[in-house]
């Protein structure tokens, strides 16, 4: 039995290696044809994947997919990129790593895409990244925060700041603005919650605050009653909630209902209209660290918000805005270097500076291809997210400092 397993594993490994190799040659073929890539008749093909059918992530999947389609539509309505239409090649990864690997293989071989946007979570994006790297195809991750995504290689970029930056910026706000001294951390038991909490804790403790409790809750668990009861007895002066919107909603609701009146600082995971709906009035006062400033007067931001609301009859969120921006990064690249030369596209993106996006100004890329942006502190006021503060300290927002 063990032998059979061994043989099967070797075979599957061999197959994946050959698949990668063929992916590379397909990209090579695309590059050789790419010199004529300026032909206005051939569309620019952008691959895309997001979790649409995994029930737990489907709302993010929907938001990501809609923003991807909107980005392509707005570009095409404006005459395309250098006169060429943009085509979206989108897949549903079902929040499944194996599925994500299969999609990455297909996008980099059969689909012959010019570049890729990941509209998925850290898990699937980490699996897909090395496949695109081997194939020499540029991928921009919209909102996956795990450092292993960009560590896959020089063709892989992020569009937003990593967990280290966001966690640290949150801690700076907690210690300096909220004057928090005794903090309870509640996080989702995934890369997302663990990564943010790790950096939050490290900065907060180094700057005089004490972390008195840490609870990591599985994505499938929706009950925070007992955790809030416990925290209430610890006399904390702040809760850091590194959760997605459903959990963050329960944290603020339970805290309010149980009479625990302390500020709650959430993260970009809570940046969703869904939190405003489920937490209702209890959301008022909640702070979050995120990348989008809805009060930004920037034309591109307001255009995105308006067009999104008009097209889908719902408010855009962090996930959608980040996906939209990942497309803007690629569009700028294609406009400048055309298609067919992935290395040129990579070099262009690496050298981007002060690029205006919906989720704030992309200041520059680090050597490890992480985007450097300011961190927005938003607060829920009267049932809507509003700008509250900005963390722009270069020591904090540049991920190379960690």
């Amino acid at each position: 039995m063990k032998k059979l397993l061994g043989v099967l594993m070797t075979l599957s490994l061999l197959m994946s290696v050959t698949a990668c190799a063929s992916g590379g040659s397909a990209a090579g073929a695309a590059s050789s044809g790419g010199s004529s890539g300026g032909d206005s008749n051939t569309p620019i093909r952008i691959g895309f994947f997001t979790p649409e059918s995994a029930a737990a992530a489907a709302a993010d999947g929907q938001s990501a997919r809609q923003s991807a389609e909107l980005a392509v539509k707005i570009a095409n309505d404006a005459g395309g990129i250098n006169g060429r239409k943009v085509e979206l090649v989108a897949y549903d990864d079902g929040l499944d790593n194996t599925q994500a690997a299969n999609i990455a293989e297909k996008l980099s071989t059969a689909d012959k895409v010019d570049a890729v946007v990941s509209g998925s979570y850290s898990g699937p994006t980490r699996v897909a990244a090395p496949i695109f790297q081997d194939a020499g195809i540029v991928m921009v991750a919209a909102y996956a925060i795990h450092p292993d995504v960009v560590n896959a290689g020089d063709f892989i970029f992020s569009q937003s700041f990593p967990g280290s930056v966001q966690g640290t910026a949150g801690a700076k706000f907690a210690v300096e603005n909220l004057k928090a001294k005794k903090i309870a951390i509640i996080g989702v038991d995934l890369d997302f919650g663990k990564e943010l909490s790790k950096y939050f804790k490290s900065y907060a403790e180094a700057n005089g605050a004490k972390i008195v409790s840490e609870d990591y809750v599985a994505m499938s668990d929706n009950d925070f009653t007992s955790i809030i009861s416990k925290i209430k007895n610890l006399n904390v002066d702040m809760i850091y909630s590194a959760n997605y919107y459903a959990h963050a909603s329960e944290v603020v609701r339970q805290a309010a209902l149980q009479g625990l009146k302390v500020p709650v600082l959430g993260t970009e995971g809570a940046d969703s209209w869904q939190l405003l709906q489920t937490a209702g009035e209890y959301a008022n006062g909640l702070y979050i660290t995120t990348n989008m400033n809805r009060d930004d007067k920037l034309e591109s931001t307001q255009k995105y918000i308006e067009e999104y609301e008009a097209a889908y009859k719902m408010q855009p969120d962090m996930v959608g805005a980040s996906v939209y921006d990942a497309f803007q990064v690629l569009f700028a690249g294609f406009e400048s270097v055309g298609t067919g030369d992935s290395a040129a596209l990579r070099d262009y993106i690496s050298s981007m500076k002060d690029f205006e996006t919906v989720t704030g100004k992309l200041l520059y890329y680090t050597k490890s291809r992480s985007a450097v942006k300011t961190v927005q502190i938003q607060q829920v006021q009267e049932g809507a997210f509003h700008g509250f503060a900005v963390i722009d300290d270069s020591k904090i927002i540049d991920p190379t400092n960690y």
Partner: protein, 291 residues
Amino acid sequence: MITQQLINGLMIGSLYALTALGATLIYGILRILDIANAAAYLIGAYVGWYIYLSTGNIILTFLGAILLAGGLGVLLQKTVYSPILAKPQVIAIIPLVASVGLFTISNDLVRLIAGPGTKAYNFSFPVESYRIGGLVILPSWILIFALTATLLLILWFILNKTKLGLAWRATAQDSEIAKAVGVDTSSAMALSYVLGYGFAAAAGIMVGILYNSITPALGEVPSYKMLAIIVLGGLGNPFGTVIAGIFIGLTEVLASVYTQIPIPKDAIAFVVLIIVLLIKPSGLISQKNKT
């Protein structure tokens, strides 16, 4: 502090009992683990949401969703489960696999029809919370206790005081002999599904109100956790299920607050199940004490 956590555990436990009661009733008669009961929980929560949104009447919400889910239960029993069970030499895994299929389909149907986003019940109680000394009790918790008690009472009445209940108990003990002596086993089976799916729908609505949120993923955890509860409760024993639900709720809360066990809270139910079955293989309450 411990009193508060005991109340929290009782509340969660009652919710578990409510959730697993439906599947227990079905196991009691048909001897099948009906994962699709979690579909009734999910569909009940969504149907309830639509009714509450359009009428604003919570009693109508519960009644409407319970009736609709009960009807769905009978429909599935007549069109899927009974035909499968009527085949000669059916092994127990076949209806189980069918129920997994039904559950998966219902999840996707709900997502496609209602959309993947979260829906909020926005049901507001007249009082936000009750404070007694340092203790906090939320009105939604009282509703959970009241609902579980009411449904148990209704169940006790139907099973012990009605002719249909007598038929149910006879069928549960031995359906072949019951049928041979003229008991209407078909009605008894239908009763199991009406109550089983109806109760699950009530639990779904209750969870929607408690967390003020429903998503198409709502049925995923109950679909497996209720198995631990009904096995622990002695398979097919409604009162055993309530005790098992409360036992698991309390264990989960106390273990997650007072210990540093590095396993997810959801896994605690199964750890408890394994330990109890090792000590008492028939579950907390054995079959003999059945209603």
